[in-house]
């Protein structure tokens, strides 16, 4: 199996790495780059905790070969805040008690971002559909949905975008 050099653009930063084709994007982020915000939950695409944005699309990094993530713009949870300034979605999750153990949170937030980038006025039903691929074992989802709707309103009112 041949190693190859691959170029990645992750959270606005360029990386040139030598990788084997059989590693997933999740393994690349966590083990090669130490970006452990993205979580390994099930490894087979059922829990959503590995969700990152690839070219703005919500993507299960456990089902993505790292080599196919080349030459694409990748955003992880680490790339969402600007220094200490939280993104409105992150702020809404904190304010609304949408975080208990926190394991599902990065995946939930990245999926929510993908939703709100596409639809800035989602209904509750649309939020539920968008988050249907992200499982939470703690909260019962109510506060997560509230947080996403609140974030949508913050973003509409012109709070920090991107």
């Amino acid at each position: 199996m041949q190693k190859q050099t691959a170029k990645f653009l992750i959270n606005g930063k360029s990386y040139e790495l030598v990788i084997e084709p059989n590693i997933t994007l999740l393994e690349l982020l966590r083990e090669e780059l130490g970006l452990t915000g993205t979580k390994y939950g099930c490894g087979i695409g059922q829990c959503g905790s590995c969700t990152v944005l690839v070219d703005c699309k919500p993507t299960l990094s456990c089902l993505t070969l790292a080599v196919t993530g080349q030459n694409r713009s990748i955003l992880t949870i680490e790339g969402l805040s600007e220094g200490n300034i939280l993104h409105p979605i992150q702020k809404a999750f904190v304010d609304h008690g949408a975080i208990q153990c926190g394991f599902c949170t990065p995946g939930m937030i990245m999926t929510a971002k993908a939703l709100l980038d596409k639809n800035y006025l989602p209904t509750k039903e649309e939020v539920k559909v968008a988050l249907s691929g992200n499982l939470c074992r703690c909260t019962g989802y109510v506060k997560i949905i509230d947080a996403v709707l609140a974030a949508a309103e913050m973003i509409r009112k012109g709070d920090k975008l991107e």
């Binding site: 199996m1 084709p21 059989n22 490894g43 087979i44 695409g45 456990c62 999926t111 559909v129 249907s132």
Partner: protein, 292 residues
């Protein structure tokens, strides 16, 4: 923690032609990778260990939704489920296909997964297939020897087996516009599991005459009730040429249920098939004969 994927050789062709050459060279040793939502799961579990992975995800010429009066609808095999859901054209003229694709997986799976991959996986419960069956879809299969067109209802052989041979690539899904005064729907019930696999899926497409009295044509597509998705042709016959009343809907639903051959929980699935077919026919007939 699951183990790392087993090693393989990675090939990324840039064009359809290059892909076909690679598939001809490696045949059964190679697996085509697009969205990865169906392929990487058995690879992660080490149930599937291809020697060669042929990644076609960057071949953007395979990602399209085209429509014209002459050629009707043509969907490129790399079109994602979410693109189909978002397509105003498909929602307008081929609405049941959009409904079916909206049911698949979750938001991420729909964004990553492609219709071509869904069809080629050929599981008995692939949600997109009943709609393709009733819409008379045809599949374009290409190899270095040329192309052939296979109707969807001739594509599936057995669970996870199709007529696609190891050197071929599915490139396009084609379907004609339903006749005027047609309507359809897709209904389903899921198993209660992590990923809500379809327990029974029913697609119905019907056409009514200009007086909105007589059913000129009816098609019923079913999934997850037989080794492959099927058309309930005997039930369809009952409906054609008739003015559809409650009793006939019930009879057609019973006949459709009897046409199934479920592997597990057979009696329950037949019961569910009957209920869903009856409801689907009712929904579509009401749409067609509405006076408002």
């Amino acid at each position: 923690m699951l183990k790392q994927l087993k090693p393989f050789e990675y090939i990324e062709p840039r064009t359809i032609e290059e892909t076909l050459k690679v598939l001809y060279k490696y045949g059964a040793k190679a697996k085509v990778l697009a969205g990865g939502t169906d392929l990487l799961v058995p690879m992660r579990r080490r149930e599937l260990n291809p020697q060669y992975i042929v990644y076609i995800g960057n071949i953007s010429v395979l990602n399209y939704i085209k429509y014209d009066q002459k050629n009707n609808l043509r969907i490129g095999a790399l079109t994602t489920h979410q693109s189909i859901v978002d397509s105003a054209l498909i929602r307008d003229k081929f609405g049941l296909l959009a409904t079916a694709c909206a049911k698949i997986g979750g938001f991420q799976i729909r964004t990553m997964g492609t219709i071509g991959g869904n069809i080629c996986m050929a599981g008995p419960s692939q949600d997109s297939v009943p709609s393709l069956l009733v819409l008379d879809a045809k599949l374009k299969l290409m190899s270095i020897r040329g192309a052939r067109i296979v109707p969807v209802d001739e594509f599936f052989v057995a669970p996870f087996q199709t007529v696609l041979n190891e050197t071929e690539l599915l490139t396009e899904i084609q379907m004609p516009t339903p006749p005027p005064k047609s309507a359809g729907c897709y209904r389903w019930l899921t198993k209660i599991t992590k990923i809500d696999e379809t327990l029974v899926g029913v697609a119905v497409l019907m056409t009514v005459d200009s007086n909105k009295k007589v059913c000129e044509d009816a098609k019923i597509g079913l999934c997850s009730i037989a080794p492959t998705p099927i058309r309930a042709k005997k039930a369809e016959e009952l409906l054609r040429g008739e003015t559809i009343k409650e009793k006939l809907m019930q009879k057609a639903a019973e006949v459709a249920a009897a046409e199934t051959s479920p592997r597990s929980r057979a009696e329950y699935r037949r019961r569910v098939t009957m209920a869903l077919v009856r409801r689907a026919i009712s929904e579509v007939w009401n749409k067609l004969t509405a006076t408002i």
